[in-house]
Subunit: 249 residues, 2 copies
């Protein structure tokens, strides 16, 4: 990709990391890290902020989630798609209605999503991404004018299709702008997979193991919702050890 | 993929692991692991056996390689594509001519390839794969009638395009046979990338970072050779701590 620019202008990179287990080799504390867990953690988190949650506190273990519950917090906690018995919510975006959560703080633990958030916490900025806030993410990255790492939460450290497709969609949009380039093979692969899938994403993700896990557990009512582009401008961002709305007062 | 078979018949899985760093989550001691480092380690190793090498001893560190050299072995050792000063060969398949190596033992250390071999050593069988021996690999897997993991050596723990394309080519061939199935997202992705690329693989890998690393170091004379399908039936296989020819007497 050859781009004409003055030599004093900053050139940022776009990289896609297919698994949290690979993140140590991508880590760049000067970059924005976008956490992606399309089915369903990051789609649910974006929805929660869209519906007025105040803070969302990601915790890595179920024990921590349980301790918060005992201290009176609302708690969302699941493993392998199943809500834990002590929790108020699972991982469906449909749980986070305005009536339930507006102005509240929620503690959140999921199979893959929250671990990835904490892994990236030394980044310049950690934001939560999904189709729901795609254009807002692109605009943020352009405004920040920094390198970007798209961290796919995957499934138990493995590559997954649904996160990689979104990574391709986001990377392609960002790379359409001057000052952004990539020499990262996984970024090229993600973009090519996105272009294969984009005409019928829901058809394509029939190949995805997570699509069938959700179906088996009767949790696949969210597929279309989680692939809705630009439902909101909300961007959840990590601040110290909790998520809050970008530009929240 | 629905396949009609009697219930007592074994169904094997095909999985693609995009990086050595992800292998712990794939490890299956009952499976065949195929090690892939197309540019250039596994293409070079296959060539060495095609040209009559007796044993090839993979070592993980340059220190081990140097120690073997001092004991009189022929040594192939490179890092980042550059031959080390104490070594007899680098990582080009063209180094391993019959005149140089027939009947000899070679000690071998590369940036990515040999580490992956040792990582997989507890597998039922560890074999060395590439386009050069593609059909022979498929036939071996069918004859063994076991699950297969295709381990892409990648680049310093990152996903790379050239190994993933080959993984897709191999997985697609194996999955064309009864008794083999997959629920592995990276296998589906690799197959889709292979189908995008296969009409012009050398054109497609212009996207690959390794292609440009080799060009920069004037080592890209091997691209077409390393993508030649079925040059040989030779399959190097790990036996204890060295590679030998499958079915060698």
């Amino acid at each position: 990709m050859s781009k004409t620019m003055n030599s004093y202008e900053r050139v940022n990179t776009v990289e896609v990391c297919f698994s949290p287990a690979l993140f140590p080799d991508f880590r760049n504390d000067e970059a924005i890290t976008v956490i992606v867990d399309i089915l369903r953690a990051t789609s649910a988190i974006i929805t929660a902020f869209m519906n007025g949650v105040r803070r969302l506190i990601p915790v890595a273990t179920l024990e921590e989630a349980r301790t918060y519950k005992e201290r009176g917090y609302l708690v969302a906690a699941e493993r392998d798609g199943i809500v834990r018995d002590f929790a108020d919510f699972g991982n469906s975006p449909y749980n986070f209605t305005r009536e339930m959560i507006e102005g509240r703080d929620i503690v959140y633990s999921t199979t893959n999503g929250t671990q990835s958030i904490m892994l990236a916490k030394e980044s310049h900025r950690v934001v939560i991404g999904g189709y729901l806030n795609l254009s807002a993410l692109v605009d943020l990255v352009l405004a920040d004018n920094r390198s970007v790492i798209v961290l796919c939460a995957g499934w138990k450290n493995k590559f997954n299709i649904e996160d990689s497709l979104f990574a391709g969609a986001l990377a392609e949009r960002i790379l359409g702008h001057a000052h952004f380039t990539t020499i990262c093979d996984s970024t090229h692969a993600a973009i090519d997979l996105w272009n294969l899938a984009k005409k019928d994403v829901l058809g394509y993700i029939e190949k995805a193991a997570q699509r069938h896990r959700l179906k088996k557990n009767k949790l696949d009512d969210v597929l279309e919702y989680c692939h809705t582009i630009d439902l909101t401008r909300c961007i959840p961002v990590l601040k110290q050890d909790y998520l809050t709305l970008l530009n929240a007062v």
